[in-house]
């Protein structure tokens, strides 16, 4: 089976016009995303993440190189049928309601009739925009609601691959957690998820493999486990040890020739603490 996404030496130059030269946004990018995995595109602002995504989607033409989606050339109708996309800080036609937006995207994907209507209701429930919320115009939506509506639109045709460009940008911690849970759920359903972010700790929670881009070039690529595991170190987290036992343990480790690099009570992540502090109904 062909990989979900395959690029070979993908390159993109933007001409500035009026003789002002060119900007190299992506250079010699080769990557492979396997089917069913969660793939993270990491990098600071301007590293070429969005440009790479757009080339895979066919919204930008590569200056050179190749990209394929499920074996189809990127940008073709067959390739785009495989992908659902949510851009960064999405803007939608403000005059449409949430339900109308999803329905519009569904019709663009060739859906119609009761099948589309049912799917719209299903997705509105999934992203918690059912009922009256789904009938309101998008201009009355909060940022988080817009993000959820966009996600529903990306999922309407039940695509193989879901591409999310900075899906948690500008979203509150509860909303971020929701999106990450959704990504996990999509993975469980066998979908391939490709998302970009510059919020590294959020990527770490969900991604199987990542690629790190900087100024259009690939720096590193691999499984998170392989990239992040410090094989020369060992970490233990224990409960129920008194002060004396801790000192004993420290002394024993030193005696064994180990260097104790860090000890002390672990710190909870601020995000987890924040979410635990909220009332139950606000956490979701």
């Amino acid at each position: 089976m062909s990989p979900a996404v395959l690029t070979q030496s993908l390159r993109k130059e933007f001409k500035l016009g009026w003789g002002r030269g060119r900007v190299l946004a992506v250079e010699a990018l080769s990557l492979e995303v396997k089917r069913g995995e969660v793939f993270g595109l990491l990098g600071p602002n301007g590293s070429g993440k969005s440009t790479a995504m757009k080339m895979i989607l066919g919204l930008l033409r590569p200056t050179s190189g190749r990209a394929e989606v499920c074996g189809f050339r990127a940008g073709t109708l067959a390739a785009r049928k495989q992908i659902g996309f949510l851009p960064e800080n999405p803007y939608f036609p403000a005059f449409l309601s949430g339900a109308e937006l999803i329905s519009y995207y569904g019709r663009l994907c060739g859906m119609g009739g009761t099948r589309l209507q049912d799917r719209v209701q299903e997705l509105l429930s999934l992203v918690r925009l059912g009922g009256e919320k789904g009938r309101r115009p998008l201009r009355t939506y909060s940022k988080g609601m817009l993000q959820r509506a966009g996600l529903a639109g990306a999922l309407v045709s039940d695509p193989e691959i879901i591409m999310l460009d900075e899906p948690t940008a500008g979203v509150d911690p509860a909303g971020s957690r929701e999106i990450r849970d959704l990504i996990r759920e999509l993975k469980q359903r066998g979908k391939t998820v490709i998302f970009s972010s510059h919020l590294l700790e959020q990527v770490e929670d969900v991604a199987d493999r990542v690629i790190i881009l900087h100024r259009g070039q690939k720096l590193r690529e691999g499984r998170l486990e392989d990239l992040l595991t410090q094989t020369t170190e060992w970490q233990v987290r224990a409960r129920g040890l008194g002060e004396d036992r801790r000192k004993e343990l420290h002394a024993w480790l030193v005696k064994q020739g180990a260097e104790v690099m860090e000890e002390g009570s672990p710190r909870e992540r601020l995000e987890d603490f924040f979410l635990r502090s909220l009332p139950e109904e606000e956490r979701r």
């Binding site: 919204l59 033409r61 992908i83 449409l96 519009y104 060739g110």
Partner: protein, 281 residues
């Protein structure tokens, strides 16, 4: 083919809905006010003069309203979507770029067509009201009443209406063409207006370039050739003035101008689609 048609219709319906919900139809209120106000303005003139004024006012107001809506609507179709980035979520779907361009244009045509039909109905109603007013004032002289009715119920007015519509559809297609090249709405509006104005000069330029043999500088010759080649001949729609003047215009001539308009729209949309195909978003 059928799937393509469905996608185009989806884009067209969305474009139409956007305009309706943005209350574009409200601009027709201005049309209605102008026409009703104008209907009574020339009361001291002869009935022929009054009808001429009313018909000129009606067609000019329909044309201007349609021009504003078509121009501004078409100018926003693509640059505004690129600026707002709403185009990304549409074009990442299995939707061809030419389908998007055609769908956008068709949505605008639906909008314009609806507005033109409403304005035409309103114009017809005002003409009949004027007829009743004048017949009441003229008494019972049969010849006079017949002449007034002939002015008000002139079937050729429908020909003029179709010509006005065809002209507006061509102008909208020109705006769509520029909008596939441009990044700003202002550029699209300015370029389309320029083509609109020069289009009324095109036949003069064409004749001077092709037929008169008069010696002019090469720069002027090049300009004249460029205008003749690239710009539509809006003087062909001068049949509208003929109809308002009460002169006979054959349906054959009107239909040929409409065929010219349809062909022009087709070429412009094809060129727009070609240009848009390679555009980075």
């Amino acid at each position: 083919m059928r799937e393509s048609g469905r996608r185009i219709l989806a884009v067209a319906a969305n474009t139409f809905l956007e305009a309706v919900r943005q209350k574009v139809f409200a601009v027709m209120l201005i049309f209605a006010l102008v026409l009703l106000g104008g209907a009574n303005y020339f009361a001291e003139f002869s009935f022929q003069e009054q009808f001429k004024f009313l018909k000129d006012l009606g067609y000019a107001t329909i044309s201007l309203t349609g021009l504003l809506v078509g121009l501004l609507g078409a100018a926003q179709l693509i640059p505004a979507e690129i600026e707002r980035r709403t185009i990304l979520t549409a074009l990442c779907r299995p939707l061809r770029r030419w389908e998007f361009v055609v769908g956008k244009y068709l949505g605008l045509v639906f909008l314009l067509g609806t507005m033109l039909a409403i304005m035409a109905a309103g114009f017809w109603a005002v003409l009949r009201w004027k007829e009743a007013q004048l017949v009441g004032a003229e008494g019972t002289e049969a010849a006079m009443i017949q002449a007034i009715q002939a002015e008000a119920r002139d079937a050729r007015l429908w020909q003029a209406f179709w010509l006005v519509s065809a002209k507006l559809f061509v102008i909208s297609a020109i705006a769509v063409f520029f909008s596939t090249l441009a990044t700003s709405t202002t550029f699209v509006v300015a370029m389309t207006l320029m083509v609109y104005l020069i289009g009324h000069l095109q036949s003069v330029a064409r004749e001077q370039w092709l037929e008169s043999g008069e010696k002019v500088g090469w720069i002027l010759q090049a300009f004249l050739a460029g205008v003749a080649f690239l710009i539509p001949d809006f003087n062909l729609y001068g049949l509208i003035d003929e109809i308002v003047a009460g002169n006979a215009v054959q349906w054959r001539a009107t239909l040929e101008v409409m065929a010219y308009s349809v062909t022009y729209v087709f070429v412009l949309l094809a060129a727009a689609a070609w240009l848009f195909e390679g555009r980075d978003l």
